[in-house]
Symmetry: D2
Subunit: 147 residues, 4 copies
């Protein structure tokens, strides 16, 4: 715990017409797409793309996902996905996310996804050492917002 | 009719190419679309479409969603969404879902969504009496599978 | 060629909240998803699923797509995708589609997709004889509506 | 400024896992989403967002779309959407697009979308003068690639 934690990874995305529904809000499933973008860009910022992780033989299928929706995202809003690691275990990793509206900093949603490490055999296994080393350098998730 | 719960509502959907990703599985966000279809069809089976609910002035925005993924759904699989009510409160309702592979009955995923009742004013409020009466007649959610 | 052409293949789909945008219409890209469903179900009706076609070694990537939008599809509308073959050549096939609103029979959109035959080598090639025989039994596309 | 056309508008997007299908390519409908992003960003570069256009009372529903697919886009590819105006008429506007792979400049796809001008009444009408002035300053579409 000495030193200091890396700050959370942040990546900005614009809400598109394709994302909206007739309520005028971003449809609730699209947040999982934004979470995907957040963790892919966080990995890239650590020096390895998720494409490279897959090409090296390990895929990270999602085993659990949850989202808490606080305020709607609307067409043309700029949002930031803030991504960090909630927990890294031998056979799974959990990412945490916040969706923040760039204009005013309001937290629109938060959530998490848990992944196993799928080996080339198609079975889950232990995190490969080089991937573990990469993930240990990742920022920690921010957790639910104080409201 | 006293004494036993209605059986869970079941609606079949086919996994489309549009739903797959390069892992060969249905992309994880699409399960939330399937949950939407499940609750819309369950409401319809009770005698009122969600369109009619909205036209009567109440929308049910999602405030929380979670999914637990057990086994992948693959291209052209027939899946059944089994939907029920987990909890009906004065200001919120929680639906529970199972995604079942029709070919062998395996549970591929389960989860839930929680909704508030948004009034024409744009603010959350109490469930309107006629909608409460409708939801009270709904089947109960099956809960997580025994594994 | 004596006798009469098979009638066009028809498959019904409901417009979901996920399909709508903030204009209250189905978002324009979803029509290509509906076209996919139309051609997959037409193939199935001829006796072979597209999954089986792929497993036998031939994929049909799209090389061209077009859609003409006449009237909007709206949330909860039942639509029918009417699918037929516009043209079958040695190295390509062209499907034609109409999107019809079930409630009143209005044509909401029409269009077409052209596909090549991609061999296991990853290169385009000639249509395999058994697939050609299958596609020759397909209904002919209806063409643009008379307006 | 007399005498030469503005260069085409260019906006970069990364292909996400959500965009891929089991062939390992970006699913064909997503190109229409990319076209939407291209025209929205081109308008923004001219000084007005499409959100502002809608708020001023005019929507631009799509009446026709077509895409020609030349080479697949793959997971994690950076692509550029190049957007311009193909034709501006009193009652319609046509945008042209190219999807270019950033790594090597290859054109992956090209296409166009035609839009009418929908008035607050819900009927199509003439392009409002200020929007016409804006669109007249737009770059011209590049047209199909030389191959």
């Amino acid at each position: 715990m000495s030193g200091h934690a890396a700050s959370v990874h942040r990546f900005e995305i614009r809400v598109r017409y394709a994302d909206t529904d007739q309520m005028g809000f971003a449809y609730y499933a699209h947040y999982l797409r934004w979470f995907e973008i957040g963790r892919a860009e966080m990995l890239r910022s650590l020096g390895r793309s998720y494409r490279a992780v897959e090409e090296a033989g390990t895929t990270l299928p999602v085993v659990e996902a949850h989202v808490r929706y606080l305020r709607p995202a609307r067409y043309d809003d700029m949002i930031a996905v803030e991504t960090g690691i909630e927990r890294l275990a031998r056979a799974s990793v959990r990412f945490g996310y916040r969706i923040v509206r760039v204009a005013d900093g309001d937290v629109l949603a938060f959530g998490g996804t848990e992944h196993c490490f799928m080996m080339p055999s198609g079975k889950p296994g232990r995190v490969p050492p080089d991937l573990a080393a990469l993930l240990e350098r990742a920022p920690r998730a921010a957790g639910p917002p104080n409201r």
